[in-house]
Amino acid sequence: MKTKIKISKKSYDIDISEDKDGLIKVKIDDEEFIFSENEAGELIQCDREKIEAGKERIVNFCPVLIEKEIKSPIAGVISEIFVKEGDRINIGQKLLTIIAMKMENELVSENCGRIKKIRIKKDQFINAGDILIILE
């Protein structure tokens, strides 16, 4: 989709497209920005140079590994685990489901990196604040 926008007195050419991998490219005049949608439907900006430099794009999405531990925000029982040790995960990626008060709570990652250790098992009871996954 191509369009023009005018801010103050300056006009910008905007070109928005989606590539075959689902990345959204926004080109403003000659400068290109790339975004990826996470599980929560949020658009996360990606680093174009890092994507082009390496094949393992998911890891390169991550600007900085902010926290190494993924903790449970609620108490409940682990009903499904969608990742395994060694997996690379991205921001917004679905990690596991916690059942609490018969509600299904899909836990998504707020970080990215490689999973070093999964500290929980299916059907295990967990408390809020328990460490579920350790990243490296």
């Binding site: 599980e39 929560a40 439907g41 949020e42 925000p73 609620i74 009903s79 917004g92 059942i99 609490a100 008060m101 018969k102 509600m103 299904e104 709570n105 899909e106 836990l107 998504v108 990652s109 707020e110």
Partner: protein, 175 residues
């Protein structure tokens, strides 16, 4: 409040989750006359023949510590609406079922996407209002309002009452 009405859909919760991921506003409602793959907790089948009231609502974001109250709140609201409209005596099987005469009449499934905070919540409600025939395997455990009172009920009116009460009660929680 936007109501998206469907004839037959696989699951109102699936559709509502898809819409929530795409950024649909809170209080968007997905309503269906029938569900081909309606489900409850742990993907247990929720029988959804024509006549019932099947809908899912995208809820406003709650505080993570308030999540556990959502389903219970809805169960109380549904029991209240049934009692007040039809002079029936529903029983709440905490936290997510409503029974009439010991048989299930309503199921609630709340699905949340959470990180450190709540990304979105979708609440699905399956209420056996005008269901006339219960599947043979469910006959001893499920019933409908119409089967209990012997007359048809107004699904739209019930939907609006439930949503109105939910809005009111959730506002109370967030205040």
């Amino acid at each position: 409040m936007e109501i998206l009405s469907y004839g037959k859909i696989n699951s109102t919760n699936l559709k509502a989750k898809e819409l929530a991921k795409k950024g649909s506003k809170p209080w968007t409602i997905v309503l269906a006359k029938e569900q081909s793959s309606g489900y409850g907790k742990s993907k247990k089948i929720w029988s959804s023949p024509a006549g019932g009231l099947y809908f899912s609502v995208i809820l406003p974001k709650s505080n993570i510590e308030d999540l556990q109250t959502l389903t219970i709140l809805a169960a109380f609201i549904i029991a209240k609406v049934i009692k007040e409209n039809f002079k029936l005596e529903p029983l709440i099987k905490l936290p997510n079922d409503v029974l009439l005469e010991g048989k299930k009449i309503c199921g609630i499934l709340t699905e949340n996407v959470v990180g450190k905070d709540v990304k979105f919540s979708v609440m699905g409600i399956g209420l056996n209002t005008n269901v006339e025939k219960i599947a043979p395997e469910l006959k001893n455990i499920a019933t409908s309002i119409k089967m209990e009172i012997g007359k048809k009920v107004d699904n739209e009116k019930i939907l609006k009452q439930i949503i109105g009460e939910l809005k009111h009660q959730l506002k109370t929680i967030s205040d």
